[in-house]
């Protein structure tokens, strides 16, 4: 017997409470919808489009679409995962994602999502952009080669830390970037601290705590133990 507040996710009935998004309801029900810029603690940003699902046959971001009774939502279909894989490939070629030298490898949501969706090649021609590294801060370094513009650091610094250390600035393919909110543009000249929420929010390897990079060796990290779809559904319990 179907409850009033339920929708179908890949044919399975999912209960929701009014006000929840499709992403929130799916997660609460232990279902994994791939995502990068969405984080359960923050407002949805809706920019990465990895969580694109089909709602009654139309594309929509699961993180920004409200759950409603009777919706038919497609999630892990071959068609959607294929489009997600293409979006991941575009993210990989736009930045410099060189996993073999990255401290975040094995703990990186971008990498783990690409494993989940079996991305075997970046497919497109690489941009190899010239992006800066900021090692000025005594406890944290920034490597913008890996930034995917999810804006989670912006939200965490503004809403949790009340500091506004990071802001999104610029326009266009080359202009859009995270800017450090200090006159010099260097992290050392802000009041950023290693204990800030923003210091541990980055889903990729941009914001890195110094001196702990390889405390846990490759092979024993979060997504080495289980694929992201399992890690995410376990975390939601």
């Amino acid at each position: 017997m179907s409850d009033q507040n339920t929708f179908l996710l890949d044919g399975e009935e999912i209960a929701f409470t009014p006000g929840q998004t499709i992403m929130q309801a799916a997660r609460a029900a232990g279902k994994y919808i791939p995502h990068l810029c969405w984080h359960p603690e923050f407002k949805p940003h809706g920019s990465c489009k990895l969580c694109t699902v089909k709602v009654n046959g139309r594309f929509a971001s699961a993180c920004t679409t409200a759950a409603a009774a009777g919706l038919e939502v497609e999630n892990r279909t071959a068609e959607l995962d294929d489009k997600r894989r293409t979006m991941l490939q575009l993210l990989f070629i736009e930045g410099n994602h060189f996993c073999p030298s990255c401290e975040k490898s094995g703990n990186c949501l971008l990498q783990a999502t690409a494993y989940e969706l079996e991305m075997l090649t970046p497919h497109f021609d690489h941009f190899y952009p010239d992006r800066p590294v900021d090692a000025s801060h005594p406890d944290v370094m920034l490597d913008f080669n890996r930034c995917i513009l999810c804006s989670l650091c912006v939200q965490a610094s503004e809403l949790v830390d009340k500091k506004c250390v990071f802001v999104m600035g610029g326009r266009g393919m080359k202009g859009r970037k995270i800017i450090i909110n200090s006159e010099s543009g260097r992290l050392a000249d802000t009041d950023f601290s290693v204990d800030d929420r923003a210091a541990s929010i980055c889903p990729v390897g941009v914001i890195l705590k110094k001196r702990v990079g390889f405390a846990v060796p490759y092979g024993q990290r979060t997504y080495d133990k289980a694929p992201v779809s399992i890690v995410e559904t376990e975390a939601a319990k």
Partner: protein, 182 residues
Amino acid sequence: MSEKKKLRVATTSLAGCFGCHMSFLDIDERLIDLLELIEFDRTPLTDIKHCGPCDLGIIEGGVCNAENVHVLREFRKNCKVLIAMGACAVNGGLPAQRNHLDLRDILEVVYETEGSLAKGAHIPNDPELPLPLNKVHPIHEVVKVDYFLPGCPPSGDAIWKFLTDLIAGRTPHLGHGLLHYD
């Protein structure tokens, strides 16, 4: 019943470190099983200099100089199926980390202005040396590639799974634990 014809396989390392070939040897005693199914053409193991007609071509490393381009095209021309093995062949890898720098600046620093060089050192200019390309490229930017096997290097188990799937006529499937970019 006649014996099944062995698949002919060629391998090479372009702008790579031979780490993927070392990992290939890490399939250990399974090499003996593999040799029941394949025979080698050009590869560092046979020292054959040019690739003849083959069923499989396995490329380690990206493309960083003119010779790499010639070898890669020779492989593509001769191999029915071409495989990019390892991070460098798949996305340029470590050598591609020079891509955001100017090639002349790099050569000048390494061969002319670096402090520990002998006096009068200069950028090598021997006609025997292949000319470096302005940028390092993954091999799919130069020729059509049929399959990709990422990893730096892919583990022996990943290479074994990939090759046995392919030889058995299945689409190679690595899955969690074997699919790695690092």
